[in-house]
Symmetry: C2
């Protein structure tokens, strides 16, 4: 009989906005180490750029400005980096009081394998002057911001040390294939340990500068503002905080009595995840989880905890991760006006009946 093939049941990206495109990874349904390009979260500040030829310019405080063709870049020694990318606004929707902007839940987060050339290999060709302080990356994407009538490109900088770090690459492949256009084809900067805004897509130009770069995506956005009405105490958003997400069960799920697996992921921008604990009684008692494999730098560790529940009722389940730099997920996230870096202990509630 027609049409009766086994139906495919699959998760989709979760649409936040279409213009620019902002879509979230269905993180609760990702049970692999690496996210397929189709389910990788999409975070854009502007419409997708249009460009039909491609050269990468490297200039500024260098000994010799250079233009690289894609072919040249791909012929240089390559480096592969497995890393989480997490939007600085991941989990923004959970801040209390609520803040404005895309209401990301837990899926502005993905991870995969990026292959490219070390940025310091490229800068080896051009040389870097002694007065160099930062490296500015300009994407092909541009548009207007609500706070200005001028058209601006997406631009971000890295301190020279991070730019020269042996895991900072200009990538041209994702999971073994050319980077999908929506994720930065042909070249994307990949900055492990930092929140995703640092990993500039569609890199057009790399400029070494001798000053502190102050573009709006660096000095206005992607800044922690602890106060609602003033800019007092502001700090730049850089390294990913220690974090964890319970993937299963889902929040507000109704379960049977019996055995259940509580599973999730933990990640950090500070060395290694060293410990993850789960509480099934709202934070009174904590038990260590089982790691699926030994934690590695840059990537999430998948974990699980076997929960036997015999008594009917409502349960508050929490996960709390710690890293090798001594950071631990706090009970409350540090509120900030633009809603970055939410990393409170993850909390869900289930009913057993």
């Amino acid at each position: 009989m027609q049409n009766l093939q086994k139906p495919s049941v699959k998760p989709y990206l979760i649409t936040r906005t279409l213009n620019p495109e902002n879509q979230e990874t269905p993180i609760h349904f990702i049970h692999k180490d690496f996210v397929s390009d189709k389910l990788f979260y999409r975070r854009n500040h502007f419409s997708y750029p249009n460009f039909s030829f491609y050269w990468l310019i490297v200039d500024g405080l260098v000994n010799f400005s250079r233009t690289f063709s894609l072919q040249e870049i791909q012929s240089l020694p390559s480096k592969t980096v497995k890393t989480v990318l997490e939007c600085a606004g991941n989990k923004r929707g959970f801040f209390k009081p609520k803040v404005f902007g895309e209401q990301w839940q837990k899926g502005a987060l993905s991870q995969g394998i990026w292959k490219g050339v070390l940025l310091r290999t490229l800068l080896g060709f051009t040389g870097v002057m002694e007065t160099a302080r930062e490296v500015v990356f300009e994407g092909y994407d541009f548009g207007e911001r609500t706070d200005s009538n001028q058209v601006t490109h997406f631009r971000r900088s890295l301190p020279i040390e991070k730019a020269l770090h042996p895991d900072t690459i200009i990538a041209y492949e994702y999971n073994g294939k050319p980077i999908p256009f929506k994720h930065g084809f042909p070249l994307r900067l990949i900055v492990p340990e930092w929140y995703g805004m640092a990993s500039v897509k569609w890199v057009k130009r790399i400029t070494v500068v001798g000053h502190e770069f102050k573009g709006p995506f660096q000095a206005v956005d992607y800044v922690y503002y602890p106060k609602k009405e003033s800019d007092e105490g502001k700090l730049p958003v850089t390294t990913m905080k220690i974090n964890s997400t319970i993937q299963q069960p889902l929040d507000r799920k109704i379960l049977n009595t019996g055995d259940h697996i509580i599973s999730g992921i933990s990640w950090t921008g500070n060395g290694l995840v060293t410990k993850v604990e789960v509480s099934v009684d709202g934070g009174t008692n904590w038990s260590p989880v089982d790691f699926e494999r030994s934690p590695e730098r840059y990537v999430w560790v998948r974990w699980s905890y076997k929960w036997e529940v015999l008594e009917k009722g409502e349960y508050t389940i929490m996960s709390r991760a710690a890293d090798s730099k001594g950071q631990v997920q706090p009970p409350e996230a540090k509120w900030n006006r633009k809603g970055y870096g939410f990393n409170a202990i993850d909390v869900i509630r289930v009913k057993v009946e």
Copy 2:
């Protein structure tokens, strides 16, 4: 250059659970009268059924039990019905205090054009005995519930008058094509005005009965329980309540000063939507919206309101609909333990900067 075609930017279903499959329509991005089958919300109680031949049985308190082939059904006079289908749990995620179950936001709602045969045409072939009180519909889908170890089919009943209503159909087409398997192929009961659980998918058997049907999807689920701990005051879930959803702008959006369009949809199971008003000051002042076309029975009306905003600040935007039966969206939804029928005035908050 390869890969530089214009990227497609599209909304996706929002995954709530995969087994059974529950996915939400990206309702904020639906600006058509009819939702494509790909974006129609999916709400299942069990895994998708497997069946490889198809006959529809009509039996019980009838003069002649009958089995209909699909071909027979499609050869009978047809009726086309345009209707909203809304899951009774639509907007469940907004109840306060929160309730358990799928945390639907605003997209357990779709609408389109169903074509089929009137149920009363089929019952005309079998005859209906005078003692008939309800008609029970059994779907091919079955499985275990958390409250029982027995396997049960999805079954729901309609009072005989609703079953014989001249718009209650056994549908075989959606939007001009055979109903997609996930939405009930080959035959789906369509019950306008009632919440979606009444529109049984994969209809296998129709049985006329002389008693009140008490299956678990009728007497346990799809019941309003106003109390948390007791069943006192319970009432069956039937007709859709008057409701509205602001589609644009999105909640927590940051806007410029200037002109903006506030747009949305309103629908009801009670006659016609007669009035929709918008407030941009948190409910102090209300203005009528413009309807895209005259409201029709069963379908949502799309509306818009032009908002000129000159002053920076935070704004609370609300929409409130009323229908021809005198129902008006209340400021607070009527809390009930299983979270059905949320229809409070829709509220979003935006920041103008």
